[in-house]
């Protein structure tokens, strides 16, 4: 059989495959247009029953979907119409999921920027009643306590993950995995009470220290670090370990020089996200670290301030007049969100820059 590849040979075959006959299709802008028409109808309907924004959106979306579906069914046939229906539903679900997120960020921004000024970053609450004041002490406290938490959790969590992936076998491994899973679900107040009870054993129930907060947060952070680094380490192909063993490299050196460098991007991301997970914890810090008005940068000596606890007290015990305190609470909340977002950006940068490079 010879194959004729000249273009006119193809053009000369007028008989087209009947299974592939083209169907009528809506023009490109029609779906959006039809949906818009439905939304307009919905707006009209809600205006007729006394205007309200929520009703307009609900009517609009339902009617828009319906109009599009019905028209598509007439023009394009059942399968295409169903495709459009599902597209509408999925898009709606996405929209619904975005509503709380956007509204939250918007509210915090709107209320938070009012006090996002130099004074907020430069002064503590020492001697402040009413206007003014800042969260310098709380920002510093949050940074110090988070750093301490990371210093405790990252080595423990990473080593545990390495044990689970590289060394652990049988019962012990399963037991540790199970316990880590249980720890992931511990309510944060329980972690706080644990740290409190631990230190109260030695120093009595009135003790409050920054380091207690770090211990409490570590209880929350270690399992997160273990789980996510475990997943990352498992992704390192076994062939690389074998390649290293075959060169006569001992196991510990293989882990140190081959496995960890290969997974460094993932590990960095895992650790950063774990930090982001605990940086906004309030309950454990409430019972372990407390709050002071002045600046205390020593985590081993007395109460400290942290942003979440600061926001909590500014909101629950605002004093008179309450407005300045409530504004400060919003700004503290905004700072926390910015902190978490920054950590997420850092995580992305880490995974971008440390990922094994391919290409020539």
């Amino acid at each position: 059989m010879s194959t004729d590849l000249r273009p006119d040979a193809v053009a000369a075959t007028p008989a087209r495959n009947p299974a592939l006959r083209s169907r009528r299709q809506l023009p490109r802008f029609a779906p959006t247009g039809l949906f818009g028409l439905g939304v307009l109808l919905g707006a009209g309907l809600s205006a007729a029953t006394g205007f309200s924004l929520t009703l307009t959106v609900v009517y609009g979306v339902v009617l828009g979907t319906l109009v599009l579906y019905v028209v598509a069914r007439r023009v394009e046939g059942g399968r295409k119409a169903f495709d459009r229906l599902v597209t509408c539903l999925v898009t709606c679900a996405f929209g619904i999921a975005m509503v709380p997120l956007v509204s939250l960020v918007w509210t915090v921004l709107e209320n938070g920027v009012r006090r996002l000024d130099g004074e907020f970053f430069n002064s503590s609450m020492l001697g402040i009643v009413g206007e003014g004041g800042g969260a310098y002490h709380a920002i510093a406290g949050t940074l110090i306590i988070t750093l301490l938490t990371a210093l405790i959790s990252v080595p423990i969590g990473l080593l545990a993950a390495i044990y689970l992936v590289e060394y652990g076998t049988g019962r012990l491994k399963r037991a540790i995995t199970f316990l880590v899973d249980v720890m992931t679900g511990i309510p944060s107040i329980v972690a706080g009470l644990f740290a409190f009870a631990l230190f109260a054993l030695f120093s009595g129930p009135s003790i409050r220290l920054g380091i207690m907060g770090a211990v409490a947060l570590s209880v929350l952070m270690i399992p997160v670090v273990v789980r996510s680094s475990e997943e990352v380490l498992k992704l390192v192909p076994n062939e690389l370990r074998e390649a290293s063993y075959a060169l006569g490299v001992p196991k510990w050196r293989t882990i140190l020089r081959v496995v960890l460098p290969t997974s460094i991007a993932g590990l960095g991301t895992a650790v950063t996200l774990a930090i982001a997970r605990v940086v906004g914890e309030t309950a454990p810090l409430l019972v372990t670290v407390g709050l002071v008005n002045g600046t205390n940068l020593d985590p081993f000596d007395g109460r400290m301030s942290t942003l979440p606890v600061f926001a909590f007290y500014q909101l629950t015990q605002p004093g008179v007049p309450p407005e300045p305190a409530i504004d400060r609470a919003w700004t503290a909340a905004l700072l926390l969100i910015i902190l978490v977002m920054a950590l997420n950006v850092v995580a992305r940068l880490i995974s971008r820059f440390f990922a094994p490079k391919t290409g020539r």
Partner: protein, 259 residues
């Protein structure tokens, strides 16, 4: 320094599954030994048990003896790490280290073991190994680029360069040419012929002509059925295997008759 390997009554297990049964064979120093046989008969498994790579797999174990120059490699006082330093390996699938450059991949055996070496000596060693693996001309301008940016065949030659850079006594190669073009294959075969002056080489191959071309001795592995252990059916000088084998099964396999 090439070494002689004597294997006696070797049973190789994956957990409770007996993959290869009672292998008895002597591998001569300064020679190339080829292992052939149908897929799944345990060639790779046997090869990996020669440098104690087999036990890296959880549950995998070995019974019997592998003696290299009078010392039992599976003796209780033998460190598998030392065994692997003397018996190098090239795997069925190329596996360069993705975090390392081409240069570092070749130098990996020394670098990972934290051996100190002068920069110029190391440069020489890298160049010699890459030339030995017939890769130098293709990569000499981009030694600092990542090894994973090479083509599959180039990666395999990189892995061969990496293995010969540590100058092992014995070199095990599991289908080293299965991803290579005929020219590189010939280069690797020339390389093997050259290397056998210094090393003992064991190679697994599905390519009969290759076995016939390069090897002095050939071992034929076969399975009697699914789930049955693989066995070394025949081990003889290559000429004999390919002209007048002792076993009927060998002749059938070589001439392409099955079942």
């Amino acid at each position: 320094m090439a070494k002689r390997i004597d294997v006696s009554d070797l049973d190789i297990y994956y957990g409770s599954f007996l993959a290869v049964q009672s292998v008895n064979v002597s591998i001569e120093p300064r020679s190339i030994t080829a292992l052939i046989g149908p897929s799944g008969c345990g060639k790779s498994t046997f090869l990996r048990s020669l440098n104690r790579m087999h036990e890296v797999i959880p549950g995998a174990r070995v019974e019997g003896k592998v003696v290299m120059d009078g010392q039992d490699l599976y003796g209780s006082d033998v460190d598998p790490v030392d065994v692997r330093r003397q018996i190098g390996m090239v795997f069925q699938r190329p596996n360069p280290f993705p975090t390392m450059s081409i240069y570092d991949n070749v130098a990996a055996g020394l670098r990972l073991n934290a051996k100190k070496m002068r920069k110029s000596d190391l440069d020489d060693l890298v160049e010699r190994s890459l030339r030995g693996a017939n890769l130098w001309n293709e990569v000499k301008d981009r030694l600092n680029r990542p090894g994973s940016g090479l083509s599959g065949g180039q990666q395999q030659r990189l892995c061969i360069a990496r293995a010969i850079a540590v100058e092992p006594d014995v070199l095990l190669m599991d289908e080293p040419c299965s991803a290579l073009d005929p020219i590189s294959t010939l280069a690797i075969e020339d390389l093997m012929t050259e290397l056998k002056e210094r090393f003992t080489i064991v190679i697994v191959t599905h390519n009969m002509q290759q076995a016939a071309r390069v090897s002095e001795s050939t071992g034929f592995f076969n399975l009697s059925g699914v789930g049955q252990p693989g066995r070394l059916i025949e081990f003889n000088p290559t000429e004999k295997i390919f002209s007048s084998p002792d076993e009927k099964a060998t002749e059938d396999y070589i001439s392409g008759r099955f079942g």
